[in-house]
Amino acid sequence: MIEVENLTKYFKVGTQVLQAVRGVDFTVNKGETVAIVGESGSGKSTIANLLLALEDLTAGKIIFEGRPLTDKRTREEKREIQIVFQDPHSSFNPRMKIKEAFFEPLYVQEIYKTFSEAKPKILETLSLIGMGEEALERYPHAFSGGQLQRLAIARALLLNPKLLILDEPLSSLDISLQAQIVQLLDQLKKQLNLTLLFITHDLQIVRTFADRVVVLYLGKVMEMGETKTLFQHPRHPYTEALLSSIPPQNPWEKRDPIPIGDQLPSPFDPPSGCPFRTRCPYVMPVCSNPIPEKKEGSHSWWCILDQLPEVRHWLSN
């Protein structure tokens, strides 16, 4: 459904250039849930902004259903990709009633001219998240974080997008609400045949929810593949380190996080070759040279090693 090639975004900051996304390739197939995983500063939110044309591309191509998308999008193209942000409180205008917040995109897109025409569509969308007419006259502050996040999801669905991007949709929510939202997304995905691009730093959530995973580090893809393969048999030391830092499920299971420190190199001057080499426990001199892609079926990784030096068993099931 969507294919990105050599996706690149540099920001000019004073006299310096911040290299946020550096030549990223990946595809998302119809009906799939793909997760983009990385630490803060890996460039994952910039990718979302590029897909939505909220930022201009520095280089690269975005191909959506066979057509290239440029930075100048037509109204129809804009409808096709929608997003849900991390903090639902800041994604609603506090002075707009839910009714207005829901009518606005339909009006701007010239789908409906008046609220009464739009109302059936709005109510239908609200029913997807288990809400009804009573929500319309209320302001965002009258809802809890979990309810607002459901509303943000519903609003993103109003324009019948084909691809829904979720940028850390759970990280501002409590654990029981996270479970509610994931269940809602799973149900909506089946009901509406949605394609989801899920941006997160939480690997445990990815494991329960995504079909495929793209691991991003300092603006480059380190490894990608099917969730199951990647969790059971990671090939890149960075993925291995991320997996090893998932907290244990039970107190009697002791984990042993691979120490990689917590300092990301500067995105103004990223390391040559493999960007992870400054934190990698297996670093070798050759890692500063360009790293070729390695492939095994649909599983790709960018590391000079074919196998990680030792197989660690940190996952109990």
């Binding site: 630490e39 803060s40 809890s144 974080g145 979990g146 409590d174 654990i175 029981s176 609400l177 996270q178 479970a179 509610q180 994931v182 269940q183 799973d186 730093h201 939480d202 690997l203 445990q204 959530i205 494991r207 329960t208 929810f209 199951k228 380190a241 991320l242 090893s244 830092s245 998932i246 907290p247 244990p248 499920q249 039970n250 107190p251 009697w252 299971e253 984990r255 996080p257 120490p259 990689i260 420190g261 917590d262 300092q263 990301l264 099931n317």
Partner: protein, 315 residues
């Protein structure tokens, strides 16, 4: 005798229209060198409880705190404001969820760390600087001396949390209260901060009161757990017992809503009630799959073999 013993801690906020009880007769104890995790969803009262221990609730909330907080047999709630001020920092350290907001953006890190020793000890400036550098090195900050002149915005979230831990430990407190210390951090950073806390605890024999909603963090860190729901402690247990067999239906539901393995988690229906409108009797009853006739009566804590639980099923 435990280092910290909390008995019937209650906190009431006097809002303009109403009296709101945010912590309801909480009791627990914590030994030297041990970690107690207080677990609950937002709105359960866990942060309010932690703040109440040291009377740190903001003035404008108009709070009244009752009960006893014994630290080494001194009742902190009975102390004068001056004496309590000495306890904060010197005997009890506090680290917050959002370290960026806890530091002053217009003063350098070194300045803010030195200030602590400047006001609390009689050390000369040279010794103070040495102590501060030592503290920063201890929490794993490389080139500590150069970082003295850094400002908070120049450091990453993980680094700032390390600075906060260094600050909290400067006066060698016996008890460290950490309110969601890793929630705002990346997984890799979380792993290294938790490891640091464990190492420091072992070295100093410090007791740790850890407030969190993350069962993974509890599994990794805690010796004992207190589960809170809607202002009350509802289950208290040793950590292995709790994970093997949670007793309270809420604790059970909380475990099922975790993301573990490959299956989707099972959400708890409904939401936590606001402390303004608490249900009569068991606060969890309206959401509880096991509720029965007795549940609209107020529930005491029942003692079972390995734990304490506030549920009529264990009468």
């Amino acid at each position: 005798m435990p280092l910290l013993e909390v008995k019937d801690l209650s906190t009431i906020l006097f809002a303009t229209d109403k009296k709101i009880e945010v912590v309801d007769k909480l009791s627990f104890s914590l030994d030297k060198g041990k970690t107690l995790a207080i677990v609950g969803e937002s709105g359960s009262g866990k942060t309010m409880a932690a703040l109440s221990l040291l009377k740190l609730i903001p003035k404008e909330l108009n709070s009244k705190i009752t009960g006893h907080v014994f630290l080494d047999s001194t009742d902190l709630l009975a102390l004068s404001p001056q004496d309590l001020r000495k306890v904060r920092g010197e005997r009890v350290g506090f680290i917050y969820q959002n370290p960026k907001r806890a530091l002053n953006p217009v003063f350098s890190i070194g300045n803010q760390l030195k200030e602590v020793l400047y006001y609390r000890t009689n050390l000369d400036e040279e010794t103070i600087e040495k102590e501060v550098i030592k503290a920063l090195e201890k929490v794993g900050i490389a080139s500590a001396k150069e970082h003295l002149s850094s400002y908070p915005h120049q450091l990453s979230g993980g680094m700032i949390q390390r600075v906060m831990i260094a600050m909290a430990l400067l006066l060698k407190p016996k008890l460290l209260i950490a309110d969601e210390p890793t929630t705002a951090l990346d997984v890799t950073t979380q792993a290294s901060i938790l490891k640091l806390l464990r190492e420091l605890q072992e070295e100093e024999g410090m007791a740790l009161l850890l407030i969190t909603h993350d069962m993974g963090v509890v599994a990794e860190m805690a010796h004992d757990v207190l589960v809170m729901y809607a202002t009350q402690g509802i289950e208290k247990s040793e950590v292995n017992h709790l994970f093997k067999r949670p007793l309270h239906p809420y604790t059970e539901a909380l475990f099922q809503s975790r993301f573990v393995g490959t299956g989707l988690p099972k959400p708890i229906p409904g939401t936590v009630p606001s402390p303004r409108h608490l249900p009569k009797g068991c606060h969890f009853a309206p959401r509880c799959p096991k509720r029965f006739a007795l549940c609209d009566q107020e529930v005491p804590m029942f003692h079972t073999e390995n734990s304490e639980v506030r549920c009529w099923l264990y009468e």
